[in-house]
Symmetry: C2
Subunit: 341 residues, 2 copies
Amino acid sequence: MDKTAGRHPKIKDVASSAGVSVTTVSRVLNGHPYVREEIRAKVAASIEALGYSPSSIARSLVRRSTDLIGVIVSDITASFFSTILGSIEEAASAKGYAILVSNIAEDPEKELRYLKLFKGMRVAGIIVMHEPTTAAIRRYAASIGIPLVVSSARPAGLSEPSVNIDDETAAYDAASYLAGLGHRAIALIGGDCERLTTARMRYDGYRRALAEKGIEADPALVKVGDFKTQDGYMLMGELLRTSPRPSAVFALSDDMAAGAMNRVMDEGLRVPEDISIMGFDDSALASMTRPALTTVHQPIADIGSISVESLIRGIEGDRPSTEGIILRHRIVERASCARKA
Amino acid sequence: MDKTAGRHPKIKDVASSAGVSVTTVSRVLNGHPYVREEIRAKVAASIEALGYSPSSIARSLVRRSTDLIGVIVSDITASFFSTILGSIEEAASAKGYAILVSNIAEDPEKELRYLKLFKGMRVAGIIVMHEPTTAAIRRYAASIGIPLVVSSARPAGLSEPSVNIDDETAAYDAASYLAGLGHRAIALIGGDCERLTTARMRYDGYRRALAEKGIEADPALVKVGDFKTQDGYMLMGELLRTSPRPSAVFALSDDMAAGAMNRVMDEGLRVPEDISIMGFDDSALASMTRPALTTVHQPIADIGSISVESLIRGIEGDRPSTEGIILRHRIVERASCARKA
DNA sequence: TTGTATGCGTTATCAA
DNA sequence: TTGATAACGCATACAA
């Protein structure tokens, strides 16, 4: 009784089962007009009976396009990224796209491998939440012939569209806020300015705020890590041992801020009474710590959805849309920062 | 000069550029033997020059298989899931598979839609980190003809392989631990036992521990939410108003535990001096809170990698491997639980 | 060692 | 309103 050979019946099976041509089946599949209602019903019945599901592989081959969006994340584990990823998934899914995700964990090899994979798969578009690391990667990404948007990172050396906040101003606002609270020894813990444009912009903003308040920058007060909790904890340890000890520290991610806060408390000091700590991102974590983090709010969900929209515009539109979208940030005051004693 | 029509050159372009047949190009592409070294070099040069990248779509069509693994997550934002997802990505990527991720956010419609999408794409396998919600979904999943493993959830009504810890015993151990600390009014905040087998198993373990210690179960002390921080916060609020007030609460996720802890502190009480709080998962969050969470450790990374291994065995092996893998849990003592005053 | 021809499962073109 | 048939880009059986 079983006419279908493999696990997945094909359009031909449906056709013969319904006693029509494959063309007709294809027509009802794609909601084409010019199919008699009676036939349509019969075909639908066969599809149902056989459990037929059209192969999007074959379909993609002839249509020469897929409904796939490749996304490259540097650390899927970070609350900031997983939230963006969630919003990307939501927006993409709503538009009929599925997402292919990679977690490159700062491994340039892997980043390049995924870019190649994406090209091989002919994904419709790519979202990169990472600063394209090496020159080879930048070159490859630029030559790939697939719409790409860089999300919450700077496309250094790439003329691709991007969506970000104004990192320089955001950091300036944060540092100014801390200075406004009377702090002068304001430390910065963040990412590598050489490698990450985002980190450098924030550093610049921090420096500008200090300069404006007449505070001399102290190199001993800026420490570099990789945005993770662990690093915040470690770097705060170093900071606690520098003299003079900073009275406020500005962390370039909430994860780092949380780590720093824990270190302060673990060493028997209080936040914010002894040391104020400010975060960056306003990720879910920010309101989960106690004291809750005063931080720089990034419109995380918007960054994700707007990245998708921008990408889809690039996919479906004609021209590649080289826009750099800047979203609004703001300082959100919670409980981790206080006026300097 | 430009002979290639579209954006992506095809094997034919490479062939004519190198002055050989497509078969030969295909051979060097797939590392076939029996290709003269000289020709191989020439072809490689053409590939490089044209920036040719084989279409995995066409390749999949003829090979009748893809290197895709579809994964369904209920909440990608939860630290527990994003960590597993990271480990799944790592394991899959190491084996040459890419992952397609969906974030279904407890939406059965979306779960079914994704399952259908995955089938249409002919993914090689599927990992579901969620308890297949409706009967329709269970039926569809069972009939889909694609290897599937349920990870960190129970495949209720499904005979598919799964990887989990022993949730009943884990909860039993946790509740026993709390009882061992002298607590008798031990509350439970968790998920819906009707819908989630995992939640029910944990509830059963909790009940068993209480019974064994001769503690009468008080229905007022068990509250149902959806594993999120927000719910922990809210449910703890209710618990604080029940009398007698529990002296310990066992939360079925670290996220909930963190929320509960915050509520306790926000209402001016102390953890663990006034109320002990125990979590579940040992996600990254567990060591980030202060006090750090005493919790039930799940081997999160292992769950991910073993799920992938098991799935791949199902993909590449002959028989569908209907094994239920149980990983070891353990209680990790940190600072959120104390002996009852 | 290399090339020709066929098929993978769809959609699209054209004719009927 | 319906149906042959030719692509789509590649891998492979078979021939040379």
